[in-house]
């Protein structure tokens, strides 16, 4: 009778331990989201020019960063994306906000000089820095970040449109791309993701 009783207690204990293990793993897993494999092969450090001097992605270690590639003469998707980035950053408060940043990379350096980029990004949020670079550097960054773009051969004072990828990249505090969004993603969802990667 006593033996039976102990067997039952042992079985319940094993089950409880297993449940605690599953719960623990679940909490740990939730707190540390995984980077999808395809994103691990994208991104990397870069140094581009802002109105206030060179800006490197590694300057942002310890912060989560939203990165977008576009151009200032873009009528629709770029202002949408920058609006979404600004709103997501705006949704973060206190220390979260101070550990978040935005980078707008112009792929149209012929027209988008760093001074102009500063005024452009400040319209959305002064915490978004506008950068660009030489065609050689931009092409290399674009290749590393899997950004596709095409600037027509036209004079700087001509009106032309630029074809470009429309991803909003979320970069974690270690400088790795961890999630992708676009101009139609809800800022609330992006803010949640930023918080998740700040934990």
């Amino acid at each position: 009778m006593m033996k039976k009783h102990w067997k039952l207690i042992s079985a319940i204990s094993v089950m409880l331990l297993f449940a605690a293990g599953v719960a623990g793993w679940s909490v740990w897993h939730h707190a540390r989201p995984e980077i999808p494999g395809y994103l691990k092969r994208m991104g990397g450090d870069f140094t581009l020019m802002s109105a206030d001097g060179p800006v490197s992605l590694h300057d942002y270690r310890g912060r989560v960063v939203l990165v977008y590639f576009g151009y200032t003469h873009c009528p629709d998707v770029c202002p949408m994306a920058l609006g979404v980035i600004a709103s997501a950053m705006h949704a973060l408060k206190g220390s979260e906000a101070s550990h978040a940043a935005g980078i707008f990379v112009s792929v149209d350096p012929r027209r988008d000089h760093p001074d102009l980029l500063k005024k452009y990004t400040a319209f959305f949020d002064p915490h978004i820095v506008g950068v660009t670079g030489s065609n050689t550097v931009l092409n290399q960054v674009a290749q590393n970040w899997h950004v596709s773009f095409s600037v027509p051969k036209a004079a700087a004072d001509e009106n032309y449109t630029v074809e470009h990828s429309t991803f909003i990249y979320l970069v974690n505090a270690k400088g790795q791309i961890v999630e992708l969004f676009d101009e139609k993603t809800s800022p609330k969802l992006i803010a949640q993701a930023m918080r998740r990667w700040l934990d």
């Binding site: 009528p75 629709d76 600004a86 102009l116 005024k119 319209f123 959305f124 596709s148 009106n159």
Partner: protein, 143 residues
């Protein structure tokens, strides 16, 4: 008194649902406030056709910018590609939307900086030779 009449008339002109040509009515028309250094932006609206036949829009113009056109957008080889639409069909008893991230009215080379609350006018032409004007209010979409 005269001032009030002018205000009422201005209010009617700036009404979000206006512009009638044949059976097409443009609703929810607005223009995105462009950042001060940008000379491009887009206008959006919903075209409703209550008539029994399709209406084909063939052109749009506005004094606000040097180039105004109906633009389509498509993702091609991983890039957002914009292209001018020579015709936009508003189906009988149907609607067509010019909307953010989709088909829109492109304004390239703004003649002057826009400000919130300003009304821009867009004149559309149809394949039937008609034209109608849509007023659209400039909106600041930040936060």
């Amino acid at each position: 008194m005269g001032r009030y009449i002018i205000m009422i008339l201005a209010g009617l002109i700036a009404s979000p649902s206006a512009a009638l040509a044949g059976e097409v009515v443009a609703k929810q028309a607005w223009v995105r406030l462009a950042p001060p250094v940008s000379d491009s932006t887009a206008a959006y609206m919903v075209m409703e056709n209550d008539g029994d036949s399709d209406v084909i829009l063939t052109a749009v113009e506005s004094a606000a910018a040097k180039h105004v056109m109906m633009h389509g957008m498509a993702m091609k080889e991983g890039r957002m590609h914009m292209f001018e639409l020579e015709h936009v069909r508003v189906p009988a008893h149907g609607t067509v939307s010019f909307e953010p991230g989709g088909m829109h009215i492109m304004l390239m080379g703004l003649n002057e900086a826009l400000h919130t609350g300003q009304t821009l006018r867009f004149k559309f032409r149809t394949a039937a030779g008609e034209s109608f004007t849509v007023p659209a209010v400039v909106r600041d979409m930040r936060h």
